[in-house]
Structure formats: structure tokens, C-alpha cells
């Protein structure tokens, strides 16, 4: 076969399209979590007292701490986009490293939070939980499922940040081509936003 490399030279670039794709993906995520919120609403309506008592069991300090640092990380990732737009690679890398660090801290906190509950047997199928009523079982079931799926998103975010940082290092992402970073930022804001709803639903409503 002859060589046709001249045919593949066409490079399609459309930053607006790329961002649109990310927004559509965010719609998907919203529907996914939306169903979980729907399930939460149904069971909270059916078991108001158990959900209230369940909320009392959670550590409000830990939850607040995680909320604050996650909000800060949303700000730092937004600032890193401004930095890259201005061509300030060093600053962008520093801000992204802070974001990455906060994401890891969030998961470490989650580990201790979950660990403390599991120690008491408060986990799906755990002895202590099964002795409590149906409402409490559902509360903790939803707590683990919803914060667990959220934590999975944090984990994916960590992967994205590592990728974006290496791409900036390699000059693949720079002041005229940074849609990857913007999309990562969009994703991270979504993860943050979902937590903003999870936090009051599980920790604060009494």
C-alpha cells in the first residue's frame, strides 16, 4: 500500500465544542446524583426521625472542614486557569498543586470519618447498624453510597489534576491552548457543588 500520510494532516480544534462536551457530561452527572437525591428525599420523608438521629451521629466539624477546603480548592483551580491564560506557568502549577493536595486531604479526612463509623459497626451489614431500625439502616446506606460515589469523583479528579500538571510541564497546555485545564476545572466545580448539597443533607439538617 502506498503512503497516504498527507491525508491525515488535518487537525480539528474547537475549544467551544470541547467545553460543550464537558457541559453535556456534567448534565449526565447531575442526573446521576439527582436520582440519589431523589432516593434520599423519598426515604427522609418516610423516616424523618431516624434521619435526624442519623445526622446527629456524623461529625459536623469534619464535614465543615472538608467543605471549607473543597471550596478553597475550587477557587485555586479557577485561579490556575487565569494564571495559564496570562502565561504564568509557574503560578498555575503552584495553584494546581494546592488543589491536588486539598483533594488528597479531603480523602484522608473521609478515610478517618468512615473508619470511626466502621469501628462502631455502623456500616451496611454491620452488626451495630442491623440492630438499629430500618430508617437508620437507610440513612447510613445512603450516607456511604452518596459520599462514596462522591469520593470516587474526587479520586478521578486527582487523576485529572496529575494529568493536567504533567501536560503543563510538557508545554502541551499553555496560554493559547488550555481547554483541558478549563474542562478539568469545570469538572472540579461540579464535584464541589455536589458536596455542597451532600454536606447539609447529611450533617446539618436536624
Amino acid at each position: 500500500m502506498e503512503n497516504h500520510t498527507e491525508h491525515t494532516s488535518h487537525v480539528h480544534r474547537d475549544d467551544e465544542g470541547d467545553k460543550m462536551g464537558m457541559w453535556l457530561f456534567i448534565f449526565t452527572e447531575l442526573l446521576l446524583f439527582g436520582m440519589l437525591f431523589l432516593i434520599y428525599a423519598v426515604y427522609r420523608y418516610k423516616n424523618p426521625v431516624a434521619f435526624q438521629l442519623g445526622g446527629n451521629e456524623l461529625d459536623v466539624f469534619m464535614g465543615t472542614f472538608n467543605t471549607v477546603i473543597l471550596l478553597i480548592s475550587s477557587a485555586t483551580v479557577a485561579m490556575s486557569i487565569s494564571a495559564i491564560q496570562k502565561g504564568n506557568k509557574k503560578q498555575a502549577l503552584a495553584l494546581l498543586s494546592v488543589t491536588l493536595f486539598i483533594a488528597v486531604v479531603f480523602l484522608v479526612n473521609k478515610y478517618f470519618e468512615w473508619g470511626a463509623k466502621i469501628e462502631y459497626g455502623l456500616y451496611p451489614g454491620g452488626d451495630a447498624l442491623l440492630e438499629l431500625g430500618h430508617g437508620t439502616i437507610l440513612f447510613f446506606g445512603l450516607y456511604y453510597v452518596m459520599s462514596g460515589i462522591h469520593a470516587l469523583h474526587i479520586l478521578i479528579g486527582i487523576g485529572l489534576f496529575i494529568y493536567v500538571i504533567t501536560q503543563i510541564r510538557k508545554e502541551k497546555i499553555h496560554s493559547t491552548d488550555y481547554v483541558w485545564l478549563e474542562n478539568t476545572g469545570l469538572y472540579w466545580h461540579l464535584v464541589d457543588l455536589i458536596w455542597i448539597f451532600l454536606f447539609p443533607l447529611f450533617y446539618l439538617i436536624h
Partner: protein, 536 residues
């Protein structure tokens, strides 16, 4: 442009030699046409497998009692048949094959918006299939039916996990294809192609893609929760732990009803392409078809409750869902009138795609009208979970989507492979298949009305007659399918070569590219000035 340069540059995508050779040149190719064909070949393999399972079930039902299999095997068969046919064949269906192949060409683009993501969708699809089928080798087949109803799906000792998780993975493939198509249609239409100059097949893909994006995550989370229910016992759907199994049904059908429109809308789009070409006439009511497609996609979200009329809902909810179900039938009926009016006084060109398209309208109408029987509350209670339902959805999903798929496959075959199918065998296959199809499914309506339940390997002696006819129909239909498949596979290699860009005389852009198209479809992106069906 000079003749000498075109002759050296114009290499069809089938022969194009990229970075990789042989099979790697296909499974690592980001060319939308190759990805489309990858889906086609994959579906051919798994359709054959699931069709054989269907045939075995019909052979079991040819006589009451144990004929060739016992109850557990039968349960496993209808489960795997359903999972493959729904999640692996008809949900990806026309968008994955013809959408990938023709969407970019029909809107005058060189590829989809995200070619790498497109290839990744196929790989995710393959991984999902492998996970689903791994149950065959690890722990045996699931027995829940493709609906995985709670609480049975996490109580049964059968091996349900791989199917649940595999279907979850397949959902990602569907979502990513949907995102790809929406962005492609928004951003990559050729200059001059305004929204209402876009052909109808891309329009229906657009409506479908939105359902894929907004409905698939619902089944994703539902399946994931069922996995967690089975592995961890979180209790959300488990009545023993305070959960509500009816909630599972709601969540399941919030996706799975819109999914019916994922299956049928692109089929309607393909039929809307084919009829004007073979009637040599402008499509009747272009805007009505566009708007009714969007209406179907929208209203389709609000009718899921009609799958659960006997599950336990408030009377008010029942009336609302029944009413909405009647509403959603209207846009489908509008389309049928559009198609029939398109043919009226047309100069008909009786070719295989046209036969498939007209028989599509016929079976789709039977399927649609029996859907109204199921949508009204009183009759639904009578025929719920009987063979009537099975006949209805096979008329819609297999009769609708399947016939549209075959119509599209014959219509675009010369463009895809640069060769023509053998018309005599294609027509023979259609006749045999059509006859077999009606013989197989029509008796099921009667059996259902008489009260024969679905999903049992056995039945009362009074249902014997109808089942014999139905089973013989199944054999006839499989014979027809075999003729069609052998003919198409043979023709793709040895058929008469087509070099004409436009063998059918179509007006849409795919007929202005080479046959088969080159790697990036166009030397120069075309400019569009007319609406797509201007026959004179």
C-alpha cells in the same frame, strides 16, 4: 481540481493504510466510518447469538412441558437474550452503526467532534460485552430477566453481578456517543446547513443523543445501587432492611422507557431518508417530522409509569401515566401520516430498502396500536405480563428498529462497501423474514389475550395450537435472517462494484462523496443552499 491528483489521492477508507496494519488498523482507527463498521460487525455476532437463544426458547415452547430445556435454563435464556438484544444490539443500534458512519458525512463534516472518544466508546462497549458474557464462564447465567427487578436480583443464587456491572459499563458507551453526536451536530454542520436544512436522520440522532445523555445515568446509578445491594446489602431496594422495591421499578423505567425512544427514533430517521429517495418526492411535512421527534424525546420521559400499572401506584398516578402514554402516541402517528403522504403520487422505485421501509410502517403500526391497548388501564390489567406484551414490544423493538436497521443497511450498503447487494436474494430474504416474523409474533397477541403468561417454560394445553404456529414462524424467520445475512456478507466481498457516487439518486450529502468515502470524506467541505429533499 485536476484528474491526476484526485486519482492518486482518492483511496477509500476501506483500503486506507494508516499507522497500523491489518486488524489493528481497524480496532485502533478513529475514523468514524471504521468505528461504525466495528459496531456493525460486533452487533452481527451478538445478534446471531441472541437470535439463536430466541429460537431455542421458541423450540422449547413448541409443546407444553419439558421439550428441550428445563425452567432454570429457560429463565437464563430469556435473561441473556434480553440483555444482549436490548443493551448490546438495539440501544446502540442505528446511532452506533449508521450514526457513526453517516452523521458526519450527512452534515458535511470530516469526522465526529471527538474521534478518539468515539473509538473509546467502542472499546468501552466491548469491555461491557465481555463483562456481561463473563457470567457464562464464572458462575453461570443470570435468571432475573433483563429488567433485574428488586428484590429478586439480589436474592437469587444465580450469577447476576456480571450482567449488572456489564450493563452499567455499556451505559458509558451510550452516554459518550450521545455527547459526541450533540457536539458534532451543534459545531460541525457544513456552511449553509441551518438547523432546518439538516437531513432527518441527523435530526433523529440529535433527539436520541439527548435521551442518551439525560436518561442513561439514571439506569447507571440504579444498576450500581443494585450491585451494592448484592455485594454490601445497603438496603435501598431491600424491603427486609426498610428499602422499597417499587422504587427500583420507578428508577429502572425512568431510563428504560426513554430508552425505547433511543431505539426507535433513529429508525424513524432512517425511514424518513429512504422513502423520499424511492418515491422521488420531497418528504411530506419535514418540520412536522423534526418537531414530532423532539416531542417524542421530551414526552417519552414522563410515561415510565405505564410499565408499572399493576405494581402499586395511586389512582391519580395511574390516570396521569395512562393519559401521557396516549399523548406520546400522537407524534409517532404524525410520522406515519408523513411517510404515507410522502409515497402518495410518488414515482415509486421498488427496491429492497423500499420494501423494508414500507414493511417497517406496517409492523410499526401494529406495534403502536397494540401499545394503546397496553396504555389504557382496564385492558392493561387484563394483558399485563402476558404474551401480548411480548408480541407488542417485539413488533416495536424488533419490527420497528430491526426493520429500519435492515432498510438502512440495504440503502447505505453500496456507499459503505462500494459494492451492491444481490437484489434477488435480498428480496427473497425479506419475503421469508417478513412472513416468518408475522407468523411468529401475531399468534402471541391471541395467546396473550387468552391469558398465557410470559416468562414461563411451560403452558396449559389450550395454548398449544398458537405456540406451534409461533414456533414454526420462528424457524421461518431465522431462515430469512440467514438468507439476508449471508447475502450481505457475501455481497460486501463479491458483490457488483459500484463506482457511481449516487446509485439511488438521493439528495442528501452522503451521495456526493466517493463510493466508498475517502478517509476524511471531503476534499473540500461542501456548502449547502437547499433543503435536503428537493426532488424536481
Amino acid at each position: 481540481m485536476s484528474e491526476t491528483t484526485t486519482s492518486t489521492k482518492h483511496v477509500s477508507f476501506l483500503e486506507y493504510q494508516g499507522k497500523y496494519k491489518g486488524i489493528l488498523g481497524w480496532i485502533l482507527s478513529t475514523d468514524h466510518k471504521r468505528v461504525g463498521l466495528l459496531y456493525l460487525y460486533t452487533m452481527l455476532v451478538f445478534f446471531s447469538l441472541a437470535a439463536i437463544l430466541g429460537l431455542l426458547m421458541k423450540l422449547q415452547l413448541i409443546a407444553p412441558g419439558y421439550t428441550i430445556m428445563g425452567p432454570q435454563t429457560y429463565n437464563a435464556m430469556f435473561t441473556v437474550h434480553g440483555i444482549i438484544m436490548i443493551f448490546i444490539i438495539v440501544v446502540p443500534g442505528l446511532p452506533a452503526v449508521f450514526g457513526n458512519f453517516f452523521l458526519p458525512i450527512m452534515i458535511g463534516a470530516k469526522d465526529v467532534a471527538f474521534p478518539k472518544l468515539n473509538l473509546a466508546s467502542w472499546w468501552i462497549y466491548i469491555i461491557g460485552i465481555l463483562v456481561v458474557l463473563s457470567s457464562q464462564f464464572i458462575g453461570g447465567w443470570p435468571d432475573t430477566g433483563w429488567t433485574f427487578y428488586a428484590p429478586y436480583s439480589f436474592r437469587t443464587p444465580a450469577n447476576v453481578l456480571p450482567a449488572l456491572f456489564g450493563a452499567f459499563i455499556l451505559g458509558f458507551s451510550s452516554i459518550l456517543t450521545g455527547i459526541n453526536f450533540v457536539v458534532t451536530i451543534h459545531r460541525m454542520r457544513a456552511p449553509g446547513m441551518t438547523w432546518f436544512k439538516m437531513p432527518l436522520f441527523p435530526w433523529t440522532l440529535y433527539a436520541t443523543a439527548w435521551i442518551q445523555i439525560l436518561a442513561t445515568p439514571v439506569i447507571g446509578i440504579t444498576l450500581l445501587l443494585t450491585v451494592m445491594e448484592r455485594v454490601l446489602g445497603v438496603g435501598i431496594f431491600d424491603p427486609a432492611l426498610g428499602g422499597d422495591p417499587i422504587l427500583y421499578q420507578h428508577l429502572f423505567w425512568i431510563y428504560s422507557h426513554p430508552a425505547v425512544y433511543i431505539m426507535i427514533l433513529p429508525g424513524m430517521g432512517a425511514i424518513s431518508e429512504i422513502l423520499p429517495v424511492f418515491s422521488r418526492k420531497r418528504i411530506y411535512g419535514y418540520k412536522a417530522i423534526v418537531l414530532s421527534s423532539l416531542a417524542i424525546a421530551f414526552v417519552g420521559y414522563f410515561v415510565w409509569g405505564h410499565h408499572m400499572f399493576t405494581s402499586g401506584m395511586s389512582g391519580r398516578a395511574l390516570y396521569a401515566f395512562s393519559f401521557l402514554t396516549f399523548i406520546v402516541a400522537i407524534p409517532s402517528a404524525i410520522k406515519v401520516f408523513n411517510w404515507v403522504s410522502t409515497m402518495y403520487k410518488g414515482s415509486l422505485n421498488l427496491q429492497t430498502p423500499f420494501y423494508w421501509a414500507t414493511s417497517f410502517i406496517f409492523v410499526f403500526m401494529i406495534g403502536g396500536l397494540t401499545g394503546l391497548v397496553l396504555g389504557s388501564l382496564a385492558t392493561n390489567v387484563h394483558v399485563h405480563d402476558t404474551h401480548f406484551v411480548v408480541a407488542h414490544f417485539h413488533f416495536i423493538v424488533f419490527g420497528g428498529t430491526g426493520y429500519a436497521f435492515m432498510a438502512a443497511l440495504h440503502y447505505w450498503f453500496p456507499k459503505m462497501f462500494g459494492r451492491m447487494y444481490d437484489a434477488t436474494w435480498a428480496n427473497t430474504g425479506w419475503v421469508v423474514f417478513f412472513a416468518g416474523f408475522l407468523t411468529l409474533y401475531l399468534p402471541m397477541f391471541a395467546l396473550g389475550l387468552q391469558g398465557m403468561p410470559r416468562r414461563y417454560y411451560d403452558y396449559l394445553p389450550e395454548f398449544h395450537g398458537g405456540n406451534i404456529i409461533s414456533s414454526l414462524g420462528a424457524i421461518l424467520m431465522i431462515a430469512g435472517a440467514l438468507i439476508i445475512i449471508v447475502n450481505l456478507v457475501r455481497s460486501s466481498r463479491h458483490g457488483v462494484k459500484v463506482s457511481d457516487k449516487n446509485p439511488w439518486g438521493g439528495k442528501t450529502l452522503e451521495w456526493e462523496t466517493d463510493t466508498p468515502p475517502t478517509l476524511e470524506n471531503w476534499d473540500e467541505i461542501p456548502t449547502v443552499s437547499e433543503s435536503p429533499y428537493e426532488y424536481k
